[in-house]
Amino acid sequence: MELSLDRLTKHYGSKIAVDQVNACLTPGVYGLLGANGAGKTTLMRMLCAIMESTSGEVLLDGKEVTSMGASYRDLLGYLPQDFGYYPNYTAEEFLHYIAALKGIPKGKARKKTKELLHTVGLDTVAKKKLKTFSGGMKQRIGIAQALLNNPKILILDEPTAGLDPKERVRFRNLLSDYADNKIVILSTHIVSDIEAIADEVFLMKKGRFIMHGSVPELTSKAEGKVWELTVPQKESRKWQEQAAVANLRHEEGQVILRIISDTKPAENAIPCEAVLEDLYLYYFGMEKENV
């Protein structure tokens, strides 16, 4: 199975949301990392064939996905970034409803619903109405509905948004178990999630993939650009204003700053090992939110 993106482009009037994106995805977990407005959601919608591209195409094993219609959507599991729900449905009814839309026979749907509610930790509230659910619980029911048809292509837009740390770990484990022999694409702002799950990461900026590779490959590109600097507390603010500070911690009356910089920021700065978050900050950290 191979999902290819061939010069995929989307314009909204004069604004370019996705710009000539190329990629070839085989089974594995792919992380999409980028600032708000980078074009991740638009790209994911085109991958799901629910949004037409301005030019270029998405191909599954050489076939254009929009022309495949239901046979493509049969292989697909999708969790949109902001999805609604029918407030009067219970969790169980909601999954039964989505199963009906996915064409899953009733008996199988019941079995799968029970199994997934247990997997996402909602089996005890299966009979409760969705309007009583918290944000995290709704997100979990969203993840469950995406998995109902055992999709070969799973597309998750911000799947960990609203999940507490324990639930995020549960989700990571679930995805690791699930991902075998499937294409899983997820976008998130939470760099540590991508770092823990993704086999390959795409860095997206202004509608383009500016970089891609495995986590070690990408972090190696930030090597030599991450420094640790110990400064007196009164100088901390000055450093935060003039440099890209990834982290700071207080220790024995002093402040230890983690600085992202091409050059050594100060004489006493010590080089340290880069992580994906450092790379992210290197490319996006010094820009305004609406990149």
Binding site: C48, A100, K102
Partner: protein, 257 residues
């Protein structure tokens, strides 16, 4: 699902069955065919999907009650208003848009509940979901309109004006349906509110016409109603054909994202 381990076991088993004179190319072909079959079988089992009628029954399970309930309540209210005025033929057309008006929350449910995007990515797609709801709603409408006509004719005690009454009910109904489908096709933002306003506007227009031009309800004006029936019937059919084409072409219908 046969994983790598299963595939390797299959290969080993096949290789061990041949003790001599192995033709590597033929062996590779056999392995490919076998792994293909093993791979395909569970897929076939997993991708077993329900047919259209099962799908329709599923939609009925989830949407049937609100559709039928609202239609029944509307029919009851219309009967209450119309029954004392059986000698006023203009009352039926004025009340007909109510049948479509009460369907709007069900037909636009995906959009205002924010489910369109999620539903569009399922096997059913937005067009099929809408078509199924429309099928159920249209069926309920026809049953209600038939009951209403039968009641009207029964109260009048004559079947002389059956044709006229059918036109008086169907023309406003077709106008409402065509307007609603057009709004969805054009992806009007706030489509439901727009449709509701248009239908209320139609009610006002029909009421004004009944007061200002009562002649349109004379038998001599039947030609106007017939022409209107064909015009709006054509518009309605065009919209239905558009939805069917959209469904067939796997394209998106209405506002998705």
């Amino acid at each position: 699902m046969p994983d790598k381990k299963t595939e390797n076991m299959l290969k080993q088993s096949l290789q061990h069955s041949f003790q001599k004179e192995i033709q590597p190319q033929k062996l590779e072909e056999t392995i490919n065919i076998c792994t293909g079959i093993v791979r395909a079988y569970p897929d076939m089992e997993e991708t077993a999907r329900t047919g259209f009628w099962q799908y329709l029954s599923d939609v009925f399970r989830f949407d049937g009650l609100p559709i039928l309930g609202l239609q029944a309540v509307t029919l009851f209210l219309i009967c209450l208003v119309a029954s004392p005025l059986t000698d006023e033929p203009s009352i039926l057309p004025i009340l007909m848009p109510l049948f479509v008006l009460v369907l709007l929350p069900v037909l636009f449910r995906s959009q205002y509940c924010g489910m369109s995007e999620l539903e569009a990515a399922t096997r059913a797609s937005g067009a099929q979901i809408f078509l199924a709801r429309l099928f159920l709603a249209g069926g309920a409408n026809l049953v209600c309109i038939t009951i209403l006509l039968w009641l009207e004719l029964y109260l009048q005690g004559s079947a002389l004006y059956t044709g006229q009454l059918i036109l008086y009910t169907l023309v406003p109904y077709l106008i409402c349906m065509a307007l609603m489908l057009r709004n969805i096709r054009l992806k009007s933002s706030k489509g439901m509110q727009k449709c509701a306003l248009e239908m209320l506007g139609l009610i006002l227009c029909l009421a004004a016409a009944a007061n200002m031009a009562p002649g349109i309800y004379e038998t001599s004006a039947i030609g106007i109603w017939t022409i209107a029936f064909f015009i709006f019937g054509t518009f309605f059919l065009r919209e239905i054909i558009y939805i069917l084409d959209t469904k067939k072409g796997g394209k998106m219908y209405g506002i998705v994202a």
